[in-house]
Symmetry: C2
Subunit: 250 residues, 2 copies
Amino acid sequence: MDKALFENTKTVKKSGHLAIQIRQRILSGEFNPGDPALQEKDIMEEFHVSKGTAREALKILESQGLIDIRTGPKGGVSVTQVSVDKANEMMWNYFFRSDITIKDIYQVRKVLEPLLAEIVTPLLSRDTINRLAVNLDSLDCVGKYESTAERIVELDFHKILAECCPNPILAFFIQFIINLLEKIVMAQGIEFTDESEKLKMSGYNFHADLLKSFLNKDAVEATRLMSEHMKEAEAYMLQFLNDQQILKKE
Amino acid sequence: MDKALFENTKTVKKSGHLAIQIRQRILSGEFNPGDPALQEKDIMEEFHVSKGTAREALKILESQGLIDIRTGPKGGVSVTQVSVDKANEMMWNYFFRSDITIKDIYQVRKVLEPLLAEIVTPLLSRDTINRLAVNLDSLDCVGKYESTAERIVELDFHKILAECCPNPILAFFIQFIINLLEKIVMAQGIEFTDESEKLKMSGYNFHADLLKSFLNKDAVEATRLMSEHMKEAEAYMLQFLNDQQILKKE
DNA sequence: AGATATTTGTTCGTATGTATT
DNA sequence: TAATACATACGAACAAATATC
């Protein structure tokens, strides 16, 4: 018989079971962010478990971003909204062994970013457009030999758009992909070359044109521009990273 | 001053810090699935922490699907690959408070499923095509008054395709969306009506045509069919669920 | 600003449960 | 079956953090 590597009969132990029970109650809407904090003691009494067991369960939920634990008076366990960062962290647990290539990323990004542009164009507030304009300026200002920083600023432009997306799924998917690209850029760095200069100008010009189409509320044009932008971005990234460049480590 | 709701200065406690350290080492590739198991005792000694602290950290990593803990001789801590189910569970922690509508889901699904069809058409093995054919048969056989079961079987067709996708990101995104749809179908149920009969036939016919285009390795046709399929599927789902139908509870 | 009360954080000893040999 | 090796759970004591007065 093989090692039980793929067995599914895992008997959930007490602390794990407790974590599952509490998670269910959180998911069912019984507790909400802002509610008065529960306490370790309450959990121990309600579920008839020892302090250690209760703590293990709570630490599990805390690590998943579902609750917040504070010491001191008025402290205890309070339910929180899971943050995008935490969700991305959990996703990376799943993906970090995968051989993700630039092509994989852009295969998806090329369809999602244009869709995002189309959706948000009529929705962008004056304030958001200002933020995009500020971002465009700082992209221009970043020191010429700071290619990595330039890429991060450029990705921020797309993050701002994602934050305005009323479709939670699309918003998260795009944020996740941007997060991946940030990991790549931070890990590998982008050396300064003639090509990276072209990359910068291409990105800058597209962002400038996108901004105009946002101002004009021209969703069709924004979609088209974003589509072109993604194609060029992929081409430039492939030059630097030789495709087959694979994501490893954090 | 507001409540420190958005503070980021959260001091990570010992057990949490230990979990982060061990996670880093797992992500860096130091440990791999199949390696001999570590033991609680090893962790305690290496990091100079007590049993309780070590256990909290290990329970955290176990709950995230990164490790497996077994009792008994040869037991201990072994590193595992995070499962799709676990990743979906973590995603649901993030999304369960969001107001996700059918339109949100299909806005994304309408661009991703056709892309998937295009990618996998040249890659489908004889074996996979057989599995799809079997699925098509069982869709036909499911009892006429089992509309919910029908939807689950139909979604399985798309799951099989996703499993063949060499792009890990696209594969996961689609599996996640299918998982959401399963939650909806299971939670709300789909009553049997004349409309649900149409839904069934529409789905069946599209799956049958898709199968043909897969056999012919006709990626263009498969893409087109999938695109049409998604439009109809959305329309039918909207009839049942009145749009604005929102996902709540597990 | 400092003392205090409250609540979580960490440790240890012990006993029990469980899987392998 | 018994012995062994490992995790699991409990309880009590003490340490650290923090809100409030």
